[in-house]
Symmetry: C2
């Protein structure tokens, strides 16, 4: 249906993606020089990958502290009930919270992994009350405050 065509990416595509994942403001002409292709060829490949869902977004990366959210926190969530209905409800709740930057539903001893951005520990405490304690289906959660964001990003190995 709306499934991205599983067109195999060739070496050109991967080289282009490697560049765009570093800096998507790189002019097509420069990309073309690096991968030995003309600018229009580069442009058509980028357009195709966007249409096929290979490239899902083009975004600016912002320093959280600059926007007043200097604290990054990992949260492990354990649910009481794991019926499809209850899991979906949890997903929707996390999706709706702007402070939840990332959310993954995982296997193993916990059910969800969250990455949360907050202005202060007080704000996090308020978030836990609103998002976790208020939800009867959350059995428990564990908090890990990030002291160093050693490596961030969404880069996928293109080699």
């Amino acid at each position: 249906m709306s499934e991205p065509s599983a067109s195999t990416l060739d070496a050109f595509d991967r080289a282009i993606l490697a560049i765009l994942q570093e800096d998507n403001t790189t002019p097509q002409r420069v990309i073309g020089e690096k991968v030995n292709l003309s600018a229009p060829a580069v442009q058509r490949r980028i357009r195709r990958m966007e249409k096929d869902g290979v490239i899902t977004a083009n975004v600016a990366v912002v320093e959280p502290a600059a926007l007043g959210h200097p604290i990054t926190i990992f949260v492990e969530i354990e649910l009481v009930s794991e019926t499809a209905k209850d899991i979906d409800a949890a997903k929707r709740a996390f999706l709706a919270a702007p402070e939840v930057q990332q959310c993954y539903y995982v296997t193993g001893e916990v059910d969800f992994m969250l990455v949360v951005l907050v202005p202060s520990m007080a704000a996090y405490e308020a978030l836990t009350r609103r998002l976790f304690f208020a939800d009867a289906n959350i059995r428990k959660f564990r908090t890990f405050v990030a002291m160093d964001r050693v490596k961030t990003g969404l880069t996928v190995p293109a080699g």
Copy 2:
């Protein structure tokens, strides 16, 4: 020194950042219409925020499966020794691994949180041998395989 000037961002800046975090290919003219500013004014604000380190990168977001890395894994790492020297060594090892998409040094019962992308569980098993078992300073690690990437991104609340 090279510290980003802590210039307070006004409402214009935050509105621009909200747009750029969604789509940084939005023309400056369109941004200007949305925030009630001329294109050059928008352009200068973006430049300033890039220079000040508020905007740290402009990147394309790529679907991991398209590049042959369909499996996302969370890893909790517990070290043996937590001297500054040993922690730095661990950071450098994780930084150097392309499969490690994100790495955070955290407080609490574990020391590091990793987000890892791999082509297969066999590839992950190989990674654990190379990166974890081969390192005598890693006491233990816990693996959580992502079944659903509910919410991904690097968006920071700009409201």
